[in-house]
């Protein structure tokens, strides 16, 4: 190790990999992965989030996780986004294609994709 820059480079590179264990990430994306969710296609949604977040280089601030059934099985796959200080956002009837838009507009842009949310879908 010849310089502090080298050390910092390793730290940055590895931070993403151990960040899951620190629990410090700002955003948590939780995908409903109970039987109902999986049957409705939650796995491709989860994979799309995992890949998308990684490709955008957001892994250090965003955690993708999974959970069981939250009770609105007819709206599966359900995805919830938690951000500190903000109301949680519940997206319903998600697909891998919709994931792209959620990452681009909500996770990166900070603007909720209203037309995918539970409230919007129920009212419509």
């Amino acid at each position: 190790m010849k310089s502090l820059a080298e050390l910092a480079a390793i730290r940055e590179k590895m931070k993403d990999k151990v960040v899951l264990r620190e629990g410090t990430s700002d955003t948590r994306i939780v995908v409903g992965m109970a039987t109902c969710g999986i049957a409705a296609g939650a796995r491709p949604v989860l994979s799309a989030f995992v890949e998308g977040i990684n490709n955008e280089g957001l892994a250090s601030s965003v955690t993708v996780s999974q959970t069981g059934c939250i009770g609105i099985c007819q709206y599966e796959p359900v995805v919830e986004v938690f951000q500190p200080g903000k109301e949680k956002v519940t997206y319903v009837k998600m697909t891998a294609e919709k994931v792209e838009k959620v990452i681009a507009e909500h996770i990166k842009g900070g603007k909720v994709v209203e037309e995918y949310t539970y409230n919007y879908t129920v009212k419509a």
């Binding site: 502090l4 050390l7 730290r11 590895m14 899951l20 109970a34 999986i38 890949e51 892994a59």
Partner: protein, 605 residues
């Protein structure tokens, strides 16, 4: 991208309950269910809840699985990792009864909630065999900081200001030790050394740090070397810690490979090399002068102090010798500052202390709490209380060098000075909890027996004195004691304390003295009444058959190894067979008859 981590404990406790097999099973099962791309299995150091091993934690949710068996692995993978539903039946439930809820997240449990993990911060979090994971947790940043931004004197001042005291026993201020060794930098060969010869029965915090976060030690020793102007270091580890030795060696090799040990570290011209020396398991080698004599290749015997190691240590050169836990605090003090550290703890004892909880307590394991936490909090809250609703009688701190703290002092805030004041000591942090079934005379004998075995024999007070003390204790336990023996013991204890060469002898009488002080009535009961109130000391026990309860089945007589039980000609009212009786002159007091009797007819007193 990895979306979940499975952390399997690879500490000694969990390894012996089969964690390696569990880890392999996870890798297999994750592969089988097609999750290898998104779930990573990581082996970590000790989480602290050793009684519940093998322990597995799933992140990011932090679900804590305890007592995992190989057959459970497939279920955890398919239910939790694939479908996102924690397997409730395996999730850690508070050991203290009455709590119905299972705790999904580790940090919510009372065991962890009030802990403050500094020395153990990476244990159970990072993979100790991967230097890059340590670097990700700000590892080696403190070394970088001292080498590029601080003078050696500034480093020493920071450690002085932090108030850090040695975690291995006496509690000497670490910064002061460094300062004493710091003179004449560059002109004199100096060494830094680490005492990892953890010998107290039941204490294993140092092992846990070596197994869970070995790079923290390496980084801290390099910082110490820079501060005093040394370029060579030794870690003295006992050979009985194979996992710790192995992980430390891996860590040293990796640090060398990354240029964090060796020549011209960070391009600053600072050189530091580190190697391991194995101890052969002699307790006395935990004493600093004996430890250094052993590193030098001689028989591990202490030598008189002064000269202190800071003046004349390893190979006659100035040496800084600290304990593992002490070192583990150093990098964080450098990074976060002395003021951050000295806000934690009490006025004269700063920071945290790791305790190895053992004995009659629900949550045995490792806990790290701020100095000044009361014994009651550690035992009743974190430790989950005493099993089977028994009453707390005493706690023993400091291992064979420490003393017993009785129940009426349970609210004492634990720090160096308070423990000294009540006749015990911090020691390395073993904390053995005893309930009402423990005989304090027997406990004193247990620890003294240990020091008699471990006395190196170099000085007479320790070699002969402890032996004579043990004989007096044996006499009392055998029922032959006289009241004068108590005074003789006290006198002898004080001779041993004041005349022994090293810490081993100087502290060896502590268990006897403290039990004499707080539990004198138990000694008196052994001597005057010839009774052991806790029912432990066999020579003073009498087994008896209640003739009216005995139905005459004869099971006890068959089980008696000494043929001490015979049939009488008394038939109790309502029974068909004659009852049995015990010949106390033949009885060897093994208790086999009593544990075999289904009718509760046999009692001991």
């Amino acid at each position: 991208m990895i979306r979940a981590h499975v952390l399997c404990c690879g500490g000694t406790g969990c390894t012996s309950s089969g964690s390696l097999k569990i880890q392999e099973a996870f890798v297999r099962e994750i592969e089988k269910q097609g999750l290898a791309e998104e779930v990573k299995v990581v082996q970590t150091g000790c989480f602290g809840l050793c009684a519940l091993g093998p322990v597995v934690i799933l992140y990011p949710d932090g679900t804590f699985y305890s007592r995992v068996e190989e057959k459970d692995v497939a279920e955890i993978v398919s239910e939790h990792l694939l479908k996102g539903r924690p397997v409730e039946r395996l999730v850690y439930n508070e050991a203290s009864e009455g709590s119905e809820e299972t705790h999904a997240s580790l940090n919510d449990t009372t065991f962890y909630k009030s802990q403050h993990r500094l020395a153990l911060r990476n244990c159970g979090v990072i993979n100790p065999e991967n230097i890059e994971e340590y670097i990700a947790m700000d590892g080696y940043a403190a070394l970088g900081k001292v080498l590029t931004e601080m003078t050696p004197d500034e480093v020493i001042q920071t450690i002085l200001d932090s108030g850090l005291r040695g975690r291995g026993g006496g509690g000497f201020p670490t910064g002061l030790k460094w300062k004493f060794a710091s003179g004449n930098r560059g002109n004199v060969k100096k060494y830094v050394a680490c005492n990892a010869d953890e010998g107290d029965p039941g204490a294993f915090m140092d092992r846990s740090i070596l197994e869970g976060d070995p790079h923290a030690l390496i980084e801290a020793m390099a910082i110490a070397a820079y501060a005093i102007g040394a370029d060579e270091g030794y870690v003295y580890v006992r050979a009985e810690y194979p996992i710790a030795v192995n992980r430390l060696q891996i860590a040293i090799d990796q640090a060398k490979e990354y240029g964090l040990l060796g020549n011209d570290i960070f391009g600053t011209g600072f050189n530091f090399d580190l190697s391991i020396r194995l101890g052969a398991g002699a307790f006395v080698c935990g004493e600093e002068t004996a430890l250094m004599t052993s590193i030098e290749g001689n028989r591990g015997e202490p030598r008189p102090r002064p000269p202190f190691p800071a003046v004349k240590g390893l190979f006659g050169q100035p040496t800084v010798l600290n304990n593992v836990e002490t070192y583990a605090n150093i990098p964080q003090i450098i990074l976060k500052g002395a003021d951050w550290f000295n806000q934690i703890g009490t006025e004269k004892s700063k920071g945290t202390k790791v305790f190895a909880l053992g004995g009659k307590i629900n949550n045995t394991g490792l806990v790290e709490v701020p100095m000044g936490t009361t014994l009651r909090h550690i035992i009743e809250e974190i430790g989950g209380g005493i099993p089977n609703g028994k009453k707390f009688k005493a706690a023993q701190t400091g291992g064979p060098s420490g003393g017993c703290i009785p129940a009426h002092l349970i609210d004492t805030p634990i720090d160096y000075d308070n423990l000294m004041a009540i006749g015990s000591m911090m020691g390395s942090g073993g904390l053995i909890v005893m309930d009402e079934d423990t005989c304090m005379v027997d406990i004193a004998r247990f620890f003294l027996d240990f020091t008699v075995d471990e006395s190196c024999g170099k000085c007479t007070p320790c070699r002969v004195g402890t032996k004579r003390l043990l004989e007096l204790l044996d006499k009392i336990i055998a029922g032959n004691g006289e009241l004068e023996d108590l005074d003789r013991m006290e006198e002898l204890c004080n001779y041993i304390k004041s005349a022994s060469l090293c810490g081993l002898g100087q502290t060896a009488p502590n268990p006897v003295l403290s039990t004499l002080k707080y539990f004198r009535d138990e000694y008196v009961a052994h001597i005057v009444d010839k009774k052991c109130p806790a029912g432990v000391c066999k020579s003073l026990l009498q087994f008896k058959i209640d003739a009216d309860k005995c139905i005459g089945c004869g099971k006890c007589a068959k089980q008696c190894p000494a043929d001490a039980i015979t049939r009488t000609d008394y038939i109790a009212p309502g029974h068909k067979l004659a009852s049995f009786t015990i010949d106390t002159t033949k009885c060897v007091k093994c208790g086999a008859c009593m544990s075999g009797c289904k009718f509760g007819a046999i009692s001991k007193s």
